[in-house]
Symmetry: C2
């Protein structure tokens, strides 16, 4: 085991777990599976993580971080408020579709399956929503969006995007619906709903 010392065992466990998550899904992610793949016993993992949940929480950290940088990049890539919000929406959906292994443990797994994500880390995850809220706030300030509570609007956008990601990647959407078209519609509608918020039928 000495030839691997440049990579800490903790790091190796995390990488193997993520890889296993990608290839076989959370349902088949077991301590013994991880351990076998790197030539250690399952109980060795407990020297570096308190529990399986603890391990998964560490992976969630990575996912939150990655999503955060993607959203920040999107936020910086466009100038007008609506373009910025739309690009951020697309960034969120892309993350969810391209990294389902992260998305599943971050936002899909029922709290019954996995212990509550610790409160102090929860804040960092919430930061990602606040980035969107700021973009919305900017749109309001520049008069492009209706004057609406930014956090409520951000959460509404989130639910729309989350719905698209989960239904598409669990393959529950009818094959006859073009995924790209659905994603496109969702992102454009999120933006346009900021412009028309509260308008009544004529």
């Amino acid at each position: 085991m000495s030839e691997k010392q440049e990579k800490s065992l903790r790091r190796e466990i995390l990488d193997t777990a993520r890889q296993l998550l990608t290839t076989t899904g959370y349902a088949r992610l077991s301590m013994r599976n991880i351990a076998n793949k790197i030539g250690y016993s399952a109980t060795s993992i407990y020297l570096y993580f308190d529990s399986k949940d603890d391990l998964v929480h560490a992976l969630i950290d990575e996912g939150v971080e990655l999503l955060g940088t993607r959203l920040a990049e999107a936020n910086a890539s466009a100038t007008t408020p609506d373009a910025r919000l739309e690009v951020m929406c697309r960034a969120y959906v892309s993350f969810g579709m391209e990294r389902p292994e992260y998305y599943e443990i971050m936002y899909v797994l029922h709290p019954e399956y996995i212990k509550r994500y610790p409160a102090e880390k929860y804040r960092k995850a919430r930061r990602n929503l606040e980035i969107m809220a700021v973009a919305i706030q900017d749109g309001i300030a520049s008069g492009v969006f209706k004057d609406v509570e930014p956090m409520l609007a951000a959460n509404l956008a989130w639910t729309q995007l989350h719905g698209v990601v989960t239904l598409l990647s669990s393959e529950r959407v009818d094959k006859r619906i073009d995924p790209e078209e659905l994603i496109d519609s969702a992102c454009r509608h999120v933006v346009s709903s900021m412009r028309t918020w509260g308008e009544q039928a004529n």
Copy 2:
């Protein structure tokens, strides 16, 4: 066991499973748990169901049926196209929030955890979306909604509602957001997006 003969064992298994699902969640729904609760051995369940998945599929049938009647009721309860669509949206969300035990197995559980829902039953589930598509179609015909592909629009509405239900009932939405307000916004925006679909920024 003869005093229970008025209620078939199959029926009793289903009821107990649903009750267990409600009280303890899918994570703790086990064959032995079900069996213990009704005084049989776990393997007896296999006399009436091929597998645990098969049992859950039978529960999904019930859920699809129940959601269907709720949507149909909503569909019949209002007259104007926008009111009808909005009432149906609220009916969908209500179902998801009030019967999380059904909603979880129907639309949340990853296909990794549970075998694919059989194709022929899938059609019945899709019928529920078609009810919404018809309501949208009516709105288009009467000139209230923009001329859009009804199935695409119905799926977009579905993703929005599904996102609200799952994020709310997995308690991932910030406590400072009023759930009712979020649901309200979502339903109203689904309807208004049918009216403004495709309009560009000015």
